[in-house]
């Protein structure tokens, strides 16, 4: 791992990848509008170069608001990546350094592309929460597993059309035949030829220690519903029983603190005024809409002002810590609090905690995403958004105070605080999260040593 990464990132990378990098760089006296048009002009060149870099899952470049009214305009550069920064940043510079240097003109660097990595690392902003839909999958694996499924489907269609398999052919026989066919293909097709590598022992140990650290925080009990769901998903019955027992014992330690946390939040909710946010700018919304739904995956970048009290800034920090723990240990089956369409969601607190930056790459329409926000994912979304200026009031952290108006008001607020992304790239814009996970499961099934007839039949149904 690179010198550019903090130690915590390096340790976490042993058990949870890919990695995320975000930099927020002031670029001098440029106006926001000038910066937007500067990036927009360079966008085609930058986008055209991104695919050649390799190992980049997603990339965005945004003209971000200044920290204070009349302050310096800023460039937000953010990506999710496989390689270490030390090896990736030079590749980025080689592919699009001149364009990026032009984007960052006016920032505190020599305006030579060689000096850009230093600038980006210097202005790095740290994710407070980073959710991964497909954990420990590289770009290469994602694409090759998709190619594998395509090949399996094609073989299956061919054999079925030839009448080679009838209703009485054993599913396990078919699975083994398919495996044989894949392994006989030329190596240059770069299809996976075995199961995905499992986590190293060091990775497993570090993950376990991180889990223990999570439960050292006494108020993590606010995530009780999600913790219980995660325990229920543990595959090994013995381990699941141990987890239930440990969780039960933990409440002796956590009950008081968790209860106190809820009471504190409720008190805050009662004393705070209900601030009604302004309506979103129709022209801006129209410009954003014009960039949506061009592929299966979409993106949003939100720039939320946090409620203007230090209590809320601190509370948000604590909630984001909790949600990061949820992402690391409880929402690890492809869904963020039951929202199963998110590839990458990153939440940062910038400007000394006064701004909440939320970036997400998700599948399907924004309407669907909003419905998930307010429905199945509300237990993750509402606690975070309740700290945002203009968010309608909540009740006991997770619930809307007035359910009849909460949804429309929050949806309007989200459009109000959404900012335009000038450059957005995805390495697999038409592969949904669930498809990526299903492809990974097909690979695991194909290379499983043996399967019962029922399991093989279920595996075949996924092709």
């Amino acid at each position: 791992m690179s010198k550019s990464e903090p130690l915590t990132e390096r340790l976490r990378a042993t058990w949870r990848r890919p990695l995320s990098f975000t930099s927020l760089v002031p670029v001098g006296a440029t106006s926001g509008a000038d910066l937007r048009s500067r990036i927009t002009v360079l966008a085609p060149q930058i986008k055209a170069s991104l695919a050649a870099v390799g190992g980049l899952h997603t990339f965005r470049l945004v003209a971000a608001p200044s920290e204070h009214p009349g302050g310096q305009a800023r460039v937000l550069l953010s990506f999710v990546h496989d390689e270490s920064l030390d090896s990736l940043l030079p590749k980025l510079m080689a592919a699009m350094g001149d364009s990026l240097a032009a984007v960052f003109a006016g920032a505190d660097f020599s305006e030579r592309k060689d000096d850009l990595p230093r600038l980006l690392v210097k202005h790095r902003a740290t994710d407070r929460t980073f959710h991964l839909g497909a954990i420990n999958k590289s770009v290469r694996e994602i694409l090759s597993e998709n190619a594998l499924v395509n090949a399996l489907e094609a073989f299956s269609d061919e054999r079925l059309a030839a009448g080679a398999w009838g209703a009485d052919t054993a599913a396990e026989t078919i699975r083994l035949e398919l495996r044989k066919r894949i392994l006989a293909l030329p190596l240059d097709l770069e299809l996976p030829r075995g199961p995905a590598p499992s986590l190293s022992s060091a990775g497993k140990l570090l993950r376990f220690l991180d889990l223990l650290a999570t439960f050292a925080f006494p108020s993590i009990g606010v995530l009780a519903v999600h913790i219980q769901k995660a325990i229920g998903l543990i595959a090994k019955p013995g381990l699941r029983r141990v987890a239930w027992a440990a969780y039960g014992v933990w409440w002796i330690y956590g009950a008081l603190f968790t209860g106190a946390a809820f009471l504190f939040v409720r008190l805050l909710e009662l004393v705070e005024p209900d601030i009604v946010a302004a309506q979103p700018d129709a022209e801006k919304v129209s410009r954003i809409e014009a960039t949506e739904d061009l592929t299966i995956t979409n993106e949003v970048t939100y720039w939320f002002p946090v409620k203007p009290t230090w209590v809320r800034r601190v509370l948000l920090r604590v909630i984001l810590w909790g949600s990061e723990r949820g992402c690391r240990h409880f929402w690890t089956h492809g869904a963020l609090a039951d929202i199963d369409t998110i590839h990458y969601a990153r939440i940062l607190q910038v400007d000394d905690g006064r701004t909440l930056l939320f970036m997400s790459d998700y599948d399907g329409s924004l309407d669907r995403y909003m419905i998930d926000f307010l429905g199945v994912g509300s237990s993750a979304v509402i606690p975070i958004s309740s700290n945002v200026y203009g968010c309608p009031k909540t009740r006991w952290l997770f619930n809307p105070d007035d359910p009849s108006t909460f949804g429309p008001r929050l949806t309007s607020l989200l459009r109000l605080d959404q900012i335009e992304t000038q450059v957005w790239y995805s390495a697999y814009p038409n592969l949904g999260v669930r498809e990526i996970l299903a492809n990974a499961a097909v690979r695991e099934g194909l290379y499983a040593e043996e399967m019962s007839e029922a399991a093989a039949s279920s595996w075949l149904a996924s092709l």
């Binding site: 398999w165 299966i296 669907r368």
Partner: protein, 452 residues
């Protein structure tokens, strides 16, 4: 506490599809002279337009719809403030077209009419063609002052209840929940008033104050969808060894047998005889998690995933409830060319046939909702045209015309043993020929707009 619905202020189409009146006519008009247009339309509202509940006393019906351009022409653009963005934009904009799959053969540049050009639409219903013509003549006469005619399209509700491909339609037919006033009928379930009417409480519990023009109103999404019946049956025949298998494959694509019976698991068998009770029984997919009966990619499962959209059936029903619509569609054009149906197809005796397969025919799809984006467009984009709906890979609805975002997802998987059967390269046998978003205003809102 919200007062009960003022049903007399609401156009009758919200409560009834006017099934008693099989013949009907859709008439489109544009404003020629605004002041005269308002006067004549007001006369029409007072004399012809049907409001409120009817318990069989009506002898005819007429409904009045306005497009956003029409509203602006009559009351000025400011009056649109607060109405649905999709309604204000109209059905033809890059965003709307992407959401609806209006690309390729559905490209709106080739449409016959659209809401931008049709400011007012009238739907006239009667017991027979002569009755409809009598009302239509009165309408034409009244609107001769201030309006110019854009199009007329005769539409009907066939007695056999079959759409042109030969399948029974309109089985799942929700109604607005009127509490004590509800009529209990088999196959009917109820929607929260707010899912149809502006300013009422929705299934999700939200309650928004509508702008004055929206009070007592609902949105109507309309699409004229042409159906190529010959291409439809030729394709299924090309994939089959015999006529029975062709019908079975088409039934898998639709999700029901032509006679409306649920399609079950197992090999290609003959269509079971129609049993009305079974046809009308509320459908559940919980016993069909693998899709071996009704495939996940089938039209009816995509259009209304019911209790298997999410893992928990209750959560699924709650999510689906937020996107329900009330359909009011009718058939247009020549009657179905039943001669192109496969041999052994049970053409009902009531079905009138037109032997010419190439004639223009199809569905004038109409649906009521209170949120065009969250209901009508959501169903189109997230369920029907979504290549990854319910974990499909590169599939889209086999029946409806929408083009998906990837643009080449024309597959259908039919689960079976030892593996699914996959149908590739499904042709597009239906295409959108016209359409628009309209407001079905309440009586007081209409009178206020037209009296200004």
């Amino acid at each position: 506490m919200k007062p009960p619905l003022d049903t007399g202020d609401i156009q009758a189409l919200v409560f009834s599809g006017h099934g008693r009146f099989p013949e009907s006519l859709a008439m489109g008009f544009a404003v020629a002279e605004p002041e005269a247009a308002k006067r004549s339309a007001l006369g029409l509202v007072r004399s012809e337009i049907s409001f409120g509940l009817s318990r069989g006393e009506r002898t005819r019906a007429a409904q009045l719809l306005l497009s956003a351009v029409g509203v602006a022409a009559l009351g000025g653009p400011a009056i649109l403030e607060g109405l649905d963005t999709a309604f204000r934009e109209g059905m033809v904009s890059p965003q709307r077209s992407r959401a609806l799959g209006d690309a390729g053969i559905n490209d709106p540049s080739g449409w016959l009419w659209r809401d931008r050009d049709v400011h007012l639409m009238l739907l006239v219903y009667g017991p027979d063609a002569a009755g409809v013509e009598t009302t239509a003549r009165a309408v034409r006469q009244t609107l001769a002052s201030g309006w110019k005619a854009v199009f007329e399209l005769p539409v009907c509700s066939p007695q056999d209840r079959r759409e042109p491909f030969g399948f029974r339609d309109g089985i799942t037919s929700p109604r607005i929940d009127l509490g004590d006033l509800n009529l209990r009928e088999p196959g009917v379930d109820f929607l929260a008033p707010g899912d149809v009417l502006l300013g009422e409480r929705t299934a999700a519990g939200t309650l928004n104050a509508p702008p004055p023009l929206g009070v007592g109103g609902s949105y109507l999404a309309i699409r004229q969808v042409e159906q190529d019946v010959e291409a439809f049956w030729k394709f299924w025949a090309s994939q089959s060894r015999n006529a029975q298998e062709a019908i079975w494959l088409a039934a898998k694509a639709v999700g029901r047998w032509p006679n409306g019976m649920p399609v079950g698991a197992g090999a290609a068998g003959p269509q079971p005889p129609a049993v009305e009770e079974e046809i009308m029984r509320p459908m559940s997919f919980t016993a069909d998690q693998e899709g071996t009966g009704c495939p996940y990619g089938a039209h009816i499962r995509r259009a209304n995933p019911r209790d298997t959209l999410e893992t928990d059936p209750r959560v699924s029903l709650a999510v689906v409830a937020q996107h329900r619509i009330i359909r009011r569609g009718r058939m247009y054009g020549a009657r179905a060319p039943t001669a192109v149906y496969p041999a052994g197809f049970d053409v009902p005796e009531l079905g009138a046939s037109d032997p010419e397969a190439s004639k223009d025919r199809g569905l004038l799809f109409m649906c009521l909702c209170s949120d065009l984006t969250g209901q009508f467009e959501f169903i189109q984009q997230t369920w029907l045209n979504n290549p990854q709906f319910a974990d499909r890979r590169d599939e889209s609805d086999p029946i409806t015309p929408g083009v998906d975002v990837v643009q080449d997802s024309r597959r259908l998987s039919i689960p079976g043993k030892p593996m699914r059967r996959r149908i590739h390269a499904l042709p597009r046998w239906s295409r959108v020929r016209a359409g628009g978003y309209f407001l079905l205003p309440g009586r007081r809102a209409l009178e206020h707009l037209l009296s200004q």
